[in-house]
Symmetry: C2
């Protein structure tokens, strides 16, 4: 921890971090929050600001062309840091990783940050984007009710085929030598990829409680579920999850529709 803290100090930036994301859902912004919270970094969050919605809607407005330093963002979340506006969740994490001490030191492990990014992209693909698509398989801008029948089919495939495949993948990662013991995904210490896996497993457990209970009971993904508890129990994460800053799941990526879960 001493090494981590001193590294963090060294790369600390003088400018504050400002997260721009929708209020009322954890959503993709949650991955950024968890990284900042784990590192004990100071940040502001539009989700808790009175005029926060305005910042979010102007970010992804059809009129936003960015500025001379920053291309426009396609969608929230975005991170404002000094003169920079960085968008796309895994990209923001990669930008923050070295600053927050949440990736291996590049001088000791030049490829570590790429492995952390790869693990992050896979968790977001299979445990965030695909769960989202289970309730919106046809059209993201239409109501769930209008695509409920297709959603049932998609969710069945997700529960029976895709979710076990992704959990199996992370079980292999935690069993592999590059994890250095299997406590964390890569290199024997916590990286932001661990926070992303925690958050996506948490979301999937909310959306498909019966299915996840059954998968947990199968014993095939023991390391993944142990990893989940390990991250959840970390001091700063635990404090954050118990705070009012942690928002409840509602109508975002992870939704609980009993008809999309196991019977």
């Amino acid at each position: 921890m001493t090494t981590r803290a001193s590294k963090r100090q060294k790369t600390e930036q003088k400018d504050a971090y400002h997260l721009i994301y929708w209020p009322s859902i954890p959503g993709r912004g949650e991955h950024i929050r968890l990284a900042l919270e784990e590192a004990g970094a100071e940040y502001t969050d539009t989700a808790h600001q009175e005029d926060g919605m305005k910042a979010v809607t102007s970010l992804s407005s059809d009129h936003n062309k960015g500025d001379s330093t920053n291309p426009p963002a396609f969608a929230p979340p975005a991170l404002k840091h000094g003169e920079y506006t960085i968008s796309q969740t895994p990209n923001i994490l990669m930008y923050l990783g070295p600053q927050l001490g949440l990736v291996p030191d590049v001088s000791e492990d030049p490829v570590g940050i790429y492995h952390v990014n790869s693990l992050t992209l896979t968790a977001l693909d299979g445990l965030s984007n695909e769960p989202h698509d289970t309730h919106h398989p046809i059209a993201v801008m239409e109501y769930y009710e209008a695509q409920k029948e297709e959603a049932k089919k998609k969710a069945k495939d997700y529960r029976e085929s895709r979710l076990p495949k992704f959990l199996g993948y992370f079980e292999r990662v935690l069993s592999g030598d590059a994890s250095k013991g299997g406590e964390y995904l890569y290199g024997g210490q916590l990286t932001y990829a661990d926070l992303v896996l925690f958050q996506t497993v948490d979301g999937v457990s909310f959306a498909f409680p019966k299915c996840v209970e059954k998968l947990k009971g199968s014993g095939k993904y023991e390391k993944v579920f142990q990893h989940y508890e390990r991250v959840k129990g970390r001091e700063n994460i635990k404090a954050y999850l118990g705070s009012e800053r942690r928002q409840k799941y509602s109508m975002g990526i992870y939704r609980y529709y009993p008809e999309l879960d196991d019977e």
Copy 2:
């Protein structure tokens, strides 16, 4: 071009690049190929090797746990480079970018690589993943024919809502000040994000020819289609596209089903 070439020289690695990807489709591997081809880098490609399939299937095998340096890959493409195996398309590009001179120099523009990554992620989301889902909206491992009715609905939404939204976004990027004139997406010179936008627009044009013709005719996305031609005409890209190394679209991400296109 001189500056670029000298930078490339400086970061050139002694180890060869080895791309591991399925034969017979351009697929996601194509983004890696285009970066290597544009930079004139030497590489091998399993798509053109006799035992290439074996390398691909063992990469994403359920038994692969990686090694002491590298976590297992979830899926192809992967890039082998010396002792490293890097996976996930945008991650491989981020690894290659500085080595191939396809991102701004970090000492002059520390945030440039993150903007390039963000643009890449958005192009892959909206112009590669979403088009794929139009023909496989329910289950990726099932036949198209088994999900054809859902595919028609999904493709309609894609053509009418999502595709215009993403093209409109890139039109704004090319109109914005951070593009430095709108020839390329960011910073006034070619980056790998430009190659990704070219390849995804090319794929979408193959899959939805009538729809793209109509969108082109609308005049709303002039900069995007001019950008497409600009990248296509670059010396190394043009030579590559005319070579046997460039594979034809078939049953991959971009498929031509007349019933999924405009009438």
